[in-house]
């Protein structure tokens, strides 16, 4: 669903150049350059305090940058007041006007445009239909559920037909089930309207499932800007790798490098050969020197787990027969969290050469009922994975 159909020469709706914003001694946004393309669903993702909300507020005009320029549709809007910008925002608290009905809330922005009464009524009706709130026109916000308030906030912003819709943690106040539902609905809405959405969130699942492109932020800077699968499969550094999903890290040392691949030593395990595509950082293979310290990483779902003893026969057709299990560790299941569809396990694995015990995170697909029942805490298991499933990060 990550629209790759939008690749035809995208135009920047919002351009940020060298944006900086400081609050007292804290630098919230530290020199950001960013182009948000026409019609994309863009997400600003990061832990709290990373500056993502400040950046959104700067786009909205609710916050002035100390340095840098903001262009919306090519026009410099750095000093333009929020009420003169062609963007609208859905606030985290929704910020519905409590003394107005649903219809009055939605009409508020249109009344200011001086449109005819009939036009306003028609557009309010349209907007409420869009978010499926027909029949609640005369309710006041305090008589609405959390999900309904969220929809009113959405309708109130959309009815202005903004060039960009800004969403500040729009789903954080909803319960898990409703959040899931709204996630799908927001994506569908964005597709249907073809409008540019900029979403701020600290929830990686939210960003991965909805956004076309994601900027991962930390300490006021963008750590990586990529499509969801790029962030997940090719994180540029340890922060991004750890922030998006779960991952296991191994320190290692580079032994040999050429155009074909890398040869590294995984301490306690032994030498490994990796294809050059596993190197996902900005540093190219040619920049690496022998003896460099590298970080190898493997995602938990790429590790194969089997019972000790019956791995031998399974080994042949593992990983589609293309890769063999280059790494093989034995250990015991220390923790197990059952999520229904998947199980997340922590395996205490013994490294064969050094005898050191490492806690390794493994995700297991509960494909058959029996396999779930076959494992228990304390069971001896074998973990295996092909070297090519790992990624190499330079530290």
């Amino acid at each position: 669903m990550h629209a790759s159909a939008r690749e035809d020469a995208p135009r920047a709706v919002v351009s940020l150049r060298g944006i900086r914003r400081r609050f007292g001694r804290v630098t919230a946004v530290d020199g950001i350059d960013l182009d948000i393309r026409e019609g994309e669903f863009f997400a600003l993702l990061g832990p709290s305090g990373c500056g993502k909300t400040t950046l959104l507020r700067i786009i909205a005009g609710l916050e002035r940058p100390d340095a840098g320029r903001i262009f919306i549709d090519g026009a410099d809007m750095t000093t333009t007041a929020p009420n003169h910008r062609p963007v609208n925002m859905v606030f985290q608290s929704y910020a519905l006007f409590p003394h107005m009905t649903v219809a009055e809330n939605v009409a508020y922005g249109l009344r200011l445009e001086g449109l005819a009464r009939a036009v306003i009524a028609e557009r309010v009706r349209e907007a409420l239909a869009l978010v499926r709130l027909e029949g609640l026109e005369d309710r006041r916000p305090d008589a609405l559920s959390g999900g309904q308030r969220q929809r009113v906030a959405l309708a109130r912003a959309l009815v202005k037909r903004p060039r960009v819709l800004l969403l500040d943690e729009p789903l954080s106040a909803l319960d898990a089930r409703l959040r899931e539902e709204m996630r799908l609905e927001l994506s569908a809405l964005q597709m249907r309207l073809g409008l540019t959405f900029v979403l701020v969130t600290h929830d990686q699942d939210e960003a991965l499932s909805m956004a076309d492109r994601i900027a991962v932020m930390r300490n006021g800077r963008i750590e990586q800007l990529d499509e969801p699968e790029g962030l997940y499969e090719r994180p540029r550094n340890r922060f991004v790798a750890e922030f998006i999903g779960k991952i296991n890290f191994f320190d290692s040392i580079l032994e040999e490098v050429d155009e074909e691949g890398l040869r590294v030593v995984l301490p306690g395990v032994g030498p490994l050969s990796l294809p050059v595509r596993c190197l996902v950082t900005e540093r190219k293979a040619a920049d690496l020197a022998l003896g460099d310290a590298l970080t190898l990483a493997i995602r938990p779902e790429k590790i194969r787990i089997s019972r000790a003893g019956d791995h031998a026969d399974a080994d042949s057709d593992l990983f589609g027969g293309q890769d063999k299990a280059d790494v093989r560790l034995t250990g015991r299941i220390a923790e197990w969290a059952y999520y229904g569809g998947i199980s997340h396990m922590i395996v205490e694995a013994t490294l064969p050469q050094s005898g050191e015990v490492r806690r390794i995170s493994v995700v297991f697909q509960n494909a058959a009922k029996e396999t779930v029942e076959a494992f228990d805490i304390g069971d001896a298991v074998v973990l295996s994975w092909p070297a090519s499933a790992m990624i190499v990060l330079t530290s």
Partner: protein, 297 residues
């Protein structure tokens, strides 16, 4: 509240002194005054409770009705001025940075630490013919050589008239107007103002459509906190007003002192109290309208 019900003795032990105080020093004297309002003066200190309504009928004499009407008019003007002056002050305090806010609030409350009598006498020094205002004006008059054009400086009559009374009451009651309005503005969710700006409203329009309607309950409280005590004020008109700016409070005070007609004074007091009750009964209406606006934030 539950624990009070389970330990009634504690409840009574805590409550009794206050209840005792209220009965002995407030309700009982009030009862005496109420009885007195149905009495007749028989001598210099003799009053007979005869059940007559004469005192109440006398209150509807045009002289007293005129003073009552003037009292209401002055109180309304005072209330209006307190709201109009107090709201911007409350607004500025509510929107200033927390450190500054503490000092500004202190400045608002500072006058409470000084006796009202002293503050009112201070106003006399400011407003009298040879007071600070006229002194400053005369100096400016001479500086601008206006005496060559209009003749010698004539001091402005600022004391012992309605202007002085209104100024004095506003001066004393302004903090009572500022504080409830400050509380209401401070409570206002700032993201609502941002949302209004985001939807295209100018600052002025945001103020009219969001801030003002959502702080109406604070304004309603301020109106009552100023209007009711203003109705009963007598010290300020006594000191600043002179004979032409007498308010109903002065008439009542005069009945108990100079005129030595306690029954009539008692009747006037109760009429003023009933009028105040009537105004208090309006308050729920004012607040309900405001609360409807503020919703359940």
């Amino acid at each position: 509240m539950e624990s009070w019900r389970r330990h009634p003795l504690v409840f009574w032990a805590m409550g009794l002194p206050g209840i005792f105080w209220l009965i002995v020093f407030f309700l009982v004297p009030l009862g005496f005054v109420w009885l007195m309002s149905f009495g007749e003066k028989r001598g210099i200190v003799d009053i007979a409770i005869t059940g007559t309504l004469e005192n109440y009928l006398r209150a509807f004499d045009p002289v007293y009705l005129g003073i009552l009407f003037k009292t209401v008019r002055i109180s309304l003007i005072v209330t209006l001025l307190c709201i109009v002056i107090g709201y911007p002050v409350a607004y500025v305090i509510a929107f200033s940075p927390p450190k500054v806010r503490t000092w500004l609030l202190l400045a608002i409350m500072l006058p409470f630490w000084i006796n009202m009598l002293i503050r009112t006498y201070a106003l006399i020094a400011v407003f009298r013919t040879r007071g600070y205002v006229n002194f400053t004006l005369e100096w400016l008059y001479g500086l601008l050589r206006l005496d060559a054009l209009f003749g010698p400086f004539q001091p402005l009559p600022m004391l012992y008239n309605e202007f002085a009374v209104i100024f004095g009451i506003v001066y004393v009651f302004l903090p009572f107007a500022v504080l409830p309005m400050y509380a209401a503005i401070e409570r206002l969710d700032r993201s609502l103002l941002e949302a209004a700006a985001d939807l295209g409203a100018s600052r002025f329009h945001t103020f009219l459509t969001i801030t003002l309607p959502l702080t109406r309950s604070g304004i309603a409280s301020a109106v009552l906190l100023v209007f009711i005590p203003a109705l009963g004020s007598f010290l300020i008109p006594e000191l600043l007003g002179g004979p032409n700016a007498y308010m109903i409070g002065n008439v009542i005070a005069a009945q108990f002192k100079k005129a030595n007609d306690w029954p009539f004074g008692a009747a006037l007091s109760f009429l003023l109290m009933y009028a105040t009750f009537a105004i208090l009964a309006v308050r729920p209406l004012l607040v309900r309208r405001a609360a409807k606006g503020e919703g359940a934030r």
